[in-house]
């Protein structure tokens, strides 16, 4: 037993993480850092939702953007068209997303594997086209602009933290419940699961509804926080659907804390590229007498999408089960080696 385990037993670690995160706004005053943290927490929620559907139930969906956008648009349209507070969106957004999940599931669940992935991808894209074309409702590409309720970042931070904690808690609960075992059995072998009497379609539907609920809630909160959406932002294939997959895969598919780690890594890595190492590159450049980096920096800053793509390739090649999955396997191997040597 090492020192870390004695000071902080695994059972207390989530509580410690939560405590540190909830004290963060008091310790760090930088609004920019809090902004990044809010994005991280929103991605934790989306990643956890996707993990329920794909990591546990094995239904790899490329359509997370459909629910994110539905939640965001429900919240924004309530404010703009009905003149209500966008905060109602936090209740209405997830409800709309879950309602959307029913036809979504009915259409896609008869399909398997690559067919399912493509059908969800197509549904997400159809939603984006509808939001673009139906201008009388959604304002089309003009987008929806609302005023933020709070000027400071910290109220949003706490809401995002609550959402993220609830999502991770939800996954933790599912893993231990009968539902979780059912979902994993569907992932491992759907026909076998059906043959022992698990109503597979119903349980896949439950997983999809939870996914839609969490993603829709994150979308509504995003609307309240950012104050602006358009179809390209809210229904983006790359920036929402693929990002949801990446957050989970980088962290570890089918692990409760994988998406938490993945969200941190992905958001901060992307931001590091966008800003040239958070301004570190600029500083190095200034310190150097001979401005070698002058021509390189604009290119590096432009390359954040390229870096994102390269990251996808590297992550899948090197860590098919993510950081946490790879770590668990590494520890398992060490333990095995220890047992063998004894």
């Amino acid at each position: 037993m090492n020192v870390l385990q004695r000071i902080l037993p695994p059972r207390l670690r989530p509580i410690a993480l939560f405590a540190i995160l909830s004290l963060l706004p008091a310790a760090v005053r930088s609004p920019y850092f809090l902004h990044l943290m809010i994005l991280v927490l929103l991605w934790v929620a989306i990643g956890a939702g996707w993990n329920i559907l794909a990591g546990y139930a094995g239904q790899v969906s490329f359509g997370a953007a459909a629910f994110f956008g539905a939640g965001a648009y429900a919240s924004g349209l309530l404010a703009v068209k009905a003149g209500m507070s966008p905060w109602w969106g936090l209740a209405v957004g997830p409800a709309v997303a879950v309602l959307l999940a029913f036809p979504f599931g009915a259409l896609t669940f008869p399909l398997r594997g690559a067919y399912f992935a493509l059908a969800t991808l197509a549904l997400g894209e159809i939603m984006r086209h509808v939001a673009t074309i139906w201008e009388s409702l959604t304002e089309g590409m003009v987008g929806i602009l609302i005023l933020r309720t709070f000027a400071s970042e910290s109220p949003y931070y706490y809401m995002a933290l609550a959402l993220a904690a609830a999502s991770v808690g939800c996954v933790e609960w599912i893993v231990r419940s009968r539902l979780g075992f059912y979902l994993v059995s569907i992932r491992e072998d759907q026909d076998a699961a059906a043959s022992i009497g698990i109503p597979t379609t119903r349980y896949k539907m439950i997983a999809l509804s939870l996914h839609a609920l969490l993603t829709g809630m994150a979308g509504a909160l995003y609307m309240c926080y950012m104050g602006y959406i358009d179809p390209k932002v809210a229904f983006s294939l790359h920036d929402i659907s693929i990002m949801a997959i990446l957050v989970t895969i980088v962290g570890g598919v089918g692990t409760a804390y994988g998406p938490v780690l993945g969200a941190f890594v992905m958001v901060f890595l992307q931001e590091a590229f966008r800003t040239g190492g958070f301004g570190a590159l600029d500083a190095v450049n200034k310190a150097l007498e001979w401005r070698v980096l002058d021509w390189a920096i604009p290119y590096i800053k432009q390359a954040h999408v390229l870096a994102f793509g390269v990251l996808v390739v590297i992550v899948i090649l090197a860590m098919p089960n993510g950081l946490l999955g790879g770590w668990a396997r590494h520890k398992g191997r060490k333990r095995q080696a220890a047992v063998c040597s004894e």
Partner: protein, 291 residues
């Protein structure tokens, strides 16, 4: 009536090129059993190669076929060999990793091109880009008609390759049963790479043929990837004949959608057909043609 016939002609001409894209995708699908979501992006790379050939060396786009197709063949082989084949050996919870990998490759291709050429719209203007001839009152775009002809020739060549040659038999054998093929002495990994290369080269042909009538920008790959998977599913996964039918159906549907519903719905029509096929004809046109 003229509008209808004109739309029909436009749809068939476009459909011929779509068939080429779909045939490439379905070849990859048949052998690897994955959806190549970088297909449109490969096509985009070929279009840029053609653009460079035309712009800097004054090479006619149709002659550039002889550069863009081999180049993309090599790119496809490289992608398969160094990124997709290693994945087959890795143990993972989710078999869809390969699909996600092709998404990542597509992003890398798009961004590398954006890096080199920026996001500006480019186009290749040849003497025949805007030319047209008339049969009765129906106009035929010269560039599209030539492209349609070449597309038919390439498709015929593909059939000859698949049906008559050793390589084609090996590809079909791997598509049918990998293990049995390996037992018969077929180098399965090499066949996979070759099939990926052929698929990429077919996409390259479609891209090069489209260029004289199309404008070019790095993000053009996305819509074509979507078309490619719609065609593949429409035709029945892995069926080459089906893919050609699927290409024609999609070309016609887009043309009629654009004429009678509105330009904005061009892409929607394809996606809705896609869903309808998944729901009502899950095996695609393959089921009707039995090939």
């Amino acid at each position: 009536m003229d509008v209808f016939l004109q739309t029909l002609v436009a749809g068939v001409l476009k459909g011929g090129l779509y068939a080429l894209i779909g045939a490439g995708m379905t070849l990859i699908m048949g052998v690897m059993r994955i959806i190549n979501l970088a297909h449109g992006q490969m096509m985009m790379v070929a279009m840029y190669i053609t653009y460079v050939c035309f712009h800097y060396w004054g090479l006619d786009p149709y002659l550039a076929l002889f550069i863009s197709m081999p180049a993309l063949f090599l790119l496809g082989v490289g992608i398969q060999k160094y990124t997709l084949n290693p994945l087959l050996k890795a143990e993972s919870l989710l078999p869809e990793n390969q699909v996600l990998m092709t998404v990542g490759i597509g992003m890398v291709l798009t961004e590398v091109i954006r890096f080199i050429f920026t996001s500006n719209y480019l186009s290749v203007k040849t003497g025949y880009s805007d030319a047209a001839f008339f049969l009765g009152r129906i106009s035929f775009s010269v560039a599209l008609t030539i492209a349609f002809g070449i597309a038919c020739a390439i498709t015929a060549f593909l059939f000859w390759l698949l049906v008559k040659t050793d390589l084609g038999r090996s590809i079909r054998a791997v598509a049918q049963d990998e293990e049995a093929a390996a037992l018969m002495g077929i180098h399965v990994e090499r066949i996979r790479s070759t099939a990926m290369g052929l698929g990429a080269a077919l996409a390259a042909a479609a891209g090069t043929l489209l260029l004289p009538v199309y404008y070019l920008y790095p993000d053009i790959g996305g819509p074509f990837t979507r078309r490619a998977f719609i065609i593949t599913v429409l035709g029945g996964l892995g069926s080459t004949v089906g893919a050609i039918g699927g290409g024609l159906v999609l070309g016609l549907a887009e043309a009629f959608g654009a004429t009678y519903i509105g330009m904005a719905s061009e892409e929607m029509v394809g996606l809705i057909i896609f869903l309808a096929v998944l729901l009502f004809l899950p095996e695609g046109l393959k089921r009707l043609t039995r090939v």
